[in-house]
């Protein structure tokens, strides 16, 4: 395990330690595995989408309002997350923490509306055991939601470390990695938004 540190001021802080560089590369590769994971879940949902047994079809119950709120919250959070990393690059710990806190707030908001939506579906008689289609829906969207939940805890932990230790090559690499994770979840959501919700509603109504 090499430990060389680069002190070139043009190198972003998170890339200055060997560990930081390796961890960031490793995390990119991990995201590759995550893509395979979500791709499998998407494929499963696509296959099962029309197998609704006696239950309602997903497209029947989707609601535009809740969907737009969730999408808006998550997309915005990705933007504020980007601002946080921008502040980190400027060595502004306070800016970093503030923007990240906003990101977390938006993430929590997203979760609130997602859970509310799930409860609504369950109220309407669609739960994980209703049909193959709904099993696929809850597990795909739920896996994304679980990722967001995990992300909120993770970012919080990293922020505590930044608050305690300030910005070092080690903490900044952690912040940067969590930001990659957060943006990735945003991208996955865009696919869910299109492939699950939009297509589902179009197919139901059109």
């Amino acid at each position: 395990m090499a430990h060389a540190e680069t002190h070139d001021p043009n190198t972003p802080l998170e890339y200055r330690s060997e560990t930081g560089r390796l961890n960031i590369l490793g995390f990119w590769i991990f995201l590759g595995a995550e893509i395979a994971l979500f791709a499998t879940l998407f494929a499963t949902y696509m296959v099962l989408e029309h197998r609704i047994a006696d239950g309602p079809s997903p497209g029947e119950l989707f609601e535009v309002k809740s969907l737009l709120i969730q999408t808006f919250l998550l997309l915005t959070s990705s933007f504020t997350c980007g601002l946080a990393v921008h502040e980190m690059r400027r060595q502004n710990v306070k800016g970093l923490i503030t923007w990240m806190a906003i990101t977390l707030g938006l993430g929590l908001g997203f979760l609130y509306f997602e859970i509310e939506e799930f409860l609504h579906f369950i109220h309407e008689g669609a739960n994980i055991g209703t049909s193959a289609a709904w099993s696929g829906f809850f597990v795909l969207v739920g896996t994304h939601g679980a990722h967001v939940t995990f992300g909120i805890f993770w970012v919080t932990m990293v922020l505590i470390q930044v608050a305690k230790r300030g910005l070092t090559p080690a903490t900044s690499a952690k912040v940067f990695i969590t930001s990659l994770y957060w943006h990735f979840l945003d991208v996955v959501w865009i696919f869910i938004f299109t492939a699950v919700y939009l297509m589902g509603m179009v197919m139901h109504n059109g």
């Binding site: 430990h3 499998t40 055991g129 099993s135």
Partner: protein, 646 residues
């Protein structure tokens, strides 16, 4: 849950197993306490992050699993030796072939290869450790705990019995209730985490930790094969993770992915399983190819023939491995077009494999071939693997596959590839790198006995099975009638199976014998090797591997240096302090929590599952807040270790 459901009762063999497990446990505890080995165990092994020690632990676990899976195999062969045998009942037989398959693939073949990769690859690329030593320990312990969880099933709760492929709806709650199938799901899931992490770890290690001068096209073939394997792991294992999770949801939380009710789709499981399962076949064969390349080149005293073609053929195989999964169920009625396409892609995968065979043969051409045991295993590989290869092409012809499918023809085919490919490689690699791991060679004379008994036994066991298949004997039947006429060939097959069992025992004896009597190696270059792992001055590399990181100028750098008489002597002034990672007990503890969580899920005790998962997250948080940058090995200590005279 009642006691007679919790403990497996009623079978004398199981009671025997209960007793022997308890006795072994007591024996180990007694030994550790009496000889005050607890601290040694904790400091040297349970908390280690050293890739060589982790590799050895992988291999030891894999050999144990080979024993377990082998016993399963012999029980099956005993039952099938004669028609209408009453040795095992149907349910017991079904459990045994299920655990045999699962254990051999997931808990034997893969960890054996990953163990050898762990020991060898960092040394071959001139690195002091892997990119993430801590994560490496997490990988090992999650694999180990997954294997243990799966293995206790035969005394607690009952083993899975739906086949290693676990086709739905047979594996559903309605048709296979109880903990058995859950063991399969959770054991594989937990071990799978470790495999995925290994994939990431070694991909980054190989990409980023190579010694200066070692460009991608100067890497040894085993490192190349590991690199390609890791890429397959990274894209294939998440599919398994999802498939297992979905079935777990079906069994524990009432979802309807693959069930009969709620419009579930059993074919989806078959597709997801083989979308992972076929790449998995290449995960366990490519490292084997890599090892044979090294061994054949070393003992032919000659550069590998067609180095670049070898690499391109591997990359092609890796790509193809994701495009052939449908050939596992041509009989599902997917239509002529689908079957034709997958027939052709499957046959096409034989092309790069054939190229590799010829390249190995021509590596020996104009060489100076020495018949050491690793080389014998490699030659045995070529001769036997080709049979597995050509029958694979026969199976790829969908129209004919309708007759081979689900028969002993198929069983024989995949044993010819997996044993003659993977198992031969594991033995060859183990013997080849044994001096690197333990400082002495295994006895060659006994080793040759192992080879001949095993190889002949292997052929006696599996060759007749092609004919049994063509005579209509389906796989997975627990007995057959006298009139079927399958008796004689089955008896022959069983005799072969026991020959393999005897060969395994001789191998274990050889380990003991060599431990007692083998001459200890005095240099690091036991076989007159070609690659960097042989360049360490001591037989077993020190924990930091290289006192000075080598600089590489070409393929087979070490061999060329030796030929030119220019092997560098280590000088005291070249040595700088070496940074190394600290040991950590967290991976072991985290894996233990995984065990608790997994066991809870198996029995559907959610309180226990949740408690276990809280433990897992607690260790994650602990690790996140731990800022341990490792430590430096002083110049004096390195000089002392390397025994350099000033």
């Amino acid at each position: 849950m009642k006691w007679d459901e919790f403990f497996v009762t009623g079978d004398p063999m199981i009671y025997g197993a209960d007793v022997s497990i308890v006795l072994t446990m007591v024996g180990i505890l007694f030994y550790l306490t009496k000889y005050k080995k607890w601290k040694w165990l904790w400091d040297e092994w349970l908390t280690t992050v050293d890739h060589k020690k982790l590799g050895i632990m992988y291999i030891v676990s894999a050999v144990l699993m080979l024993f377990r899976g082998g016993v399963d195999a012999l029980l099956m062969r005993t039952q099938l030796a004669v028609p209408e045998a009453k040795f095992l009942d149907s349910q017991h037989y079904n459990e045994i072939f299920t655990t045999h398959g699962t254990i051999m693939i997931i808990f034997m073949a893969m960890p054996f290869l990953i163990g050898l990769i762990n020991v060898v690859v960092p040394l071959q690329i001139g690195a002091r450790d892997v990119a993430y030593p801590y994560l490496n320990a997490v990988s090992f312990w999650t694999f180990f705990i997954g294997a243990m969880l799966f293995n206790i099933s035969f005394v607690i709760g009952g083993s899975p019995s739906a086949g290693w492929t676990s086709y739905m709806p047979l594996a559903s709650n309605e048709l296979s209730p109880g903990p058995g199938q859950n063991y399969y799901l959770l054991g594989l899931q937990i071990a799978g985490i470790g495999t995925l992490l290994t994939g990431i770890n070694f991909l980054v290690t190989i990409l980023k930790m190579r010694a200066p001068g070692m460009t991608l096209f100067r890497m040894p073939m085993f490192t190349w094969s590991s690199l390609v394997t890791m890429v397959i792991i990274i894209f294939a294992f998440p599919i398994l993770t999802v498939a297992l999770a979905l079935m777990t949801f079906d069994r524990l939380f009432g979802s309807h992915f693959f069930t009969l009710q709620g419009a579930g789709m059993d074919m989806l499981w078959a597709n997801l399983f083989w979308l992972w399962g076929h790449p998995e076949v290449y995960i366990v064969i490519l490292p084997a190819f890599g090892m044979f390349s090294e061994i054949i080149s070393t003992f032919s005293r000659k550069t590998l023939f067609g180095y670049k073609a070898m690499i391109w053929s591997m990359l092609l195989i890796a790509g193809y491995s994701f495009l052939v999964w449908v050939h596992h169920f041509f009989t599902m009625g997917s239509g002529a077009l689908v079957n034709s396409v997958f027939s052709i892609t499957t046959m096409a995968i034989g092309i790069p494999t054939g190229v590799k065979i010829f390249n190995w043969l021509f590596t020996m051409y104009r060489g100076k071939i020495q018949f050491t045991t690793p080389m014998l295993w490699s030659l045995g590989f070529i001769v036997n693997f080709v049979i597995g290869g050509v029958t694979g092409v026969m199976l790829a012809m969908a129209a004919a596959d309708y007759q081979y499918h689900n028969t002993y023809f198929l069983v024989s085919h995949f044993h010819y590839v997996l044993i003659a490919g993977t198992v031969f490689a594991c033995f060859a690699g183990l013997i080849y790198w044994y001096p690197k791991m333990f400082g002495y060679k295994l006895n060659e004379r006994i080793g040759k006995w192992v080879f001949w008994v095993f190889t002949i036994g292997f052929n006696v066991c599996f060759f007749p099975q092609y004919f049994l298949g063509l005579d209509g004997m389906p796989r997975r039947v627990y007995t057959y009638s006298e009139e079927s006429g399958w008796g004689p060939l089955n008896m022959v097959s069983t005799i072969g199976g026991f020959m393999m069992g005897i060969a395994f025992l001789i191998l274990v004896y050889n380990m003991y014998y060599s431990f007692r009597y083998a001459k200890r190696e005095t240099t690091g270059d036991a076989w007159d090797g070609r690659t960097l792992e042989w360049s360490t001055p001591t037989a077993m590399p020190p924990f930091y591997n290289f006192a000075k990181i080598p600089e590489v100028t070409g393929l087979d750098h070490f061999w060329r240096q030796k030929q030119a008489g220019k092997v560098e002597k280590l000088k005291a002034e070249d040595i700088k302090p070496i940074h190394m990672p600290s040991n950590s007990g967290v991976p072991f503890i985290m894996a233990s929590f995984f065990f608790v969580a997994g066991f809870g899920m198996v029995f559907d005790w959610m309180w226990m599952a949740i408690a276990g998962m809280i433990g897992v997250f607690a260790t994650l948080i602990y690790r996140s807040f731990e800022y341990n940058d490792g430590y430096y090995v002083s110049v004096e200590e390195v000089i002392e270790t390397e025994k350099i005279s000033k």
